[in-house]
Amino acid sequence: MSAPLLTVQDLVKTFALPRRSIRGPRPTVQAVSGISFRLERGRTLGLVGESGSGKSTTARLITGLVRPTSGTIDFGGVDVARADRRQQRALRRRMQMIFQDPRGSLDPRMRVRDVIGEGLVVHRIASGARLRTRVDELLEMVGLRTGDAEKYAHEFSGGQAQRIAIARALATDPEIIVCDEAVSALDVSVQAQILNLLRQLQDELGLAYLFISHDLNVVRYMSDEMIVMYLGKAVETGPAARIFEEPAHPYTQALLSTIAQDEWADPQSATPGVAGEIPSPTSPPSGCRFHTRCPLAFDRCRVEEPSYAVLGEGHLAACHLSHDRAAIA
């Protein structure tokens, strides 16, 4: 196994909230409570979870947009969390992001040529004729015409705008691209085109993706490995194909049941999924954080936080029941 591109260890991020009263302590919310994973060249790590699970905060921590409270993010020997300004600048070149709303992330007053080339200028990678050639090359890579370079972002449809955002992300030859709900706002037929483009670029350029999506069908198609997050914790991690086949954690099981393959043929097989809603992250439940909604919860779950049960092939689940099953097997 080659050395991973990105190694994240025990990542924690606590945000301070406004004081409720003058005397009281300042309440805090732990958006990410101890996440660890590795991302390798040419691989895709899927990140799934409900709103408030901490998946977007994880993405922002990794890209250095926010600093972690504790933990390390090793990106090719540099700790993103402790990088100085100069190092951060270099890191940004090697790590890019694609967001959900392509039109919101592209400056409407800039021509496509400048939108895509901005990173090259900022990082002083190319200028003049070389810049022009590179932008044309990037446009072709994402399936747009070189003639599109002189237009403005608003002249494009949502799918084409997302192609521009991808070209912009590719400009600085990044090694990692964080896709935060990158295809969620697109129509099904356009979404399929963008997914294929992302996969094709990955094959050609050896890109690693951190792929965040609420659409489990999309995550299944894109991911090699995946992390299921719940209230800031990874409740299950491992090879994506394996987790989709045999989800071990009750939360994952409930989540995946919402896309049961036979649901289209027989609506009765649609399971209710998880009861209730995600509790407030300001006061997460004791013990296992999922116990308030878990159909299988027992006394121990309420008091003791489960450690990871090792289920083989890098498959881990934070559930007391998985420990029992792992012990029997």
Partner: protein, 338 residues
């Protein structure tokens, strides 16, 4: 066997009797820069009492405009032709009276519950307002509001009724919107992407709730969505729209299981659902036609893998495939195969 019927006529609704909602040859246009853009070009369908009809399509298909036309909320749009009959009464010529029908006979659930609720009033007040508007007996309004909040799954409704929308989660807000929608036991509920803004786990709960209240009130449900799995879960029948026209119609299992129209086939295939990871996701080449061009022939023909010379020359009528299914495609024409 295929039988040709006159264009625009949908298959007869099963069960006999007049359908609750009958939309016929609806044509809607918007003015833009001195030109008229036709967004709906002859949409016809019917919904029976108690039935769920899903309208599925991508952006620009006209599914939301269809819903807004029924509600009389088109804004800058104009109904150029066609009729919308609710219980036999045409809503199109009505102006002032529509206000009363809307909210009492027709209720709408929108995608964004935060936008649908007024941030300045408590949820209890907004619910009581809906009951007052619907002519509910005054002395029972308070109790009924609390009862409704409880029935949509708001815990401790007595206390929670004085909460403001921002104090609730997205799922809870959508529950309140549903309570307001069903307050007057509407004959028709129109839900436009009701769960698109919600988490996957909450989505299932809200869909189940909509189904439950619909059954209890005996309302018909017109569900507008882009999500095939929502269609599969909720609908009795499905209407597939593309660029302002209905391309296919039929019972949900049949349409999803054996789609007839090439567009429906392509749309279903493009969902990366259980697809082999080593292969690309099937896509639909090209993009949705611009509204500025008046289509001659089939509007899907430029992107259709089965396109024939006739498709570019003449717009196909709706062909009735059997009792319950219809497809607007020349492939259904016996003459084509002859």
């Amino acid at each position: 066997m295929t039988v040709t019927v006159s264009p625009q006529q949908p298959p007869a609704a099963p069960g006999g009797g007049a359908p609750l909602l009958e939309v016929e040859d609806l044509r809607v246009s918007f003015a833009k820069g001195g030109r008229r853009l036709q967004v709906l070009s002859g949409v016809s369908f019917a919904v029976d009492a108690g039935e769920t009809l899903a309208v599925v399509g991508e952006s620009g298909s006209g599914k939301s405009v269809t819903a807004l036309s029924i509600m009389g909320l088109l804004g800058g749009g104009v109904i150029d032709a066609g009729s919308i009959r609710l219980g036999g009464r045409d809503l199109v010529p009505l102006q002032r009276e529509l206000r009363a029908i809307r909210g009492r006979d027709i209720a709408m659930i929108f995608q964004d519950p935060l936008a649908a609720l007024d941030p300045l009033f408590t949820i209890g007040y907004q619910l009581r307002e809906a009951l007052r508007f619907g002519g509910y007996p005054r002395q029972r309004i308070r109790a009924r509001a609390i009862e409704l909040l409880g029935s949509v799954g708001i815990p401790d409704p007595e206390r929670r009724q004085s909460a403001y929308p921002h104090e609730l989660s997205g799922g809870q807000r959508q529950r309140v919107v549903i309570a307001i929608a069903i307050a007057c036991r509407p004959k028709l509920i129109i839900a436009d992407e009701p769960t698109t803004a919600l988490d996957a786990t909450v989505e299932g709960q809200i869909l189940d709730l909509i189904k439950l209240v619909q059954q209890e009130a005996g309302s018909a449900l017109l569900l507008i969505t882009h999500d095939m799995s929502v269609v599969a879960r909720m609908a009795d029948r499905v209407l597939v729209m593309y660029a302002g026209a209905v391309l296919e119609e039929g019972p949900v299992r049949e349409v999803l299981g054996r789609p007839r129209h090439p567009y429906t086939q392509a749309l279903i295939a493009a969902v990366p659902r259980g697809v082999d990871r080593s292969k690309p996701v099937p896509t639909i080449p090209g993009s949705i036609p611009s509204l500025l061009e008046t289509p001659t022939g089939c509007r899907f023909a430029p992107r259709c893998p089965h396109a024939m010379p006739v498709c570019a020359a003449a717009e196909p009528p709706i062909f009735r495939v059997d009792e319950v299914r219809a497809s607007r495609c020349w492939l259904e024409d016996e003459a084509v195969h002859a």
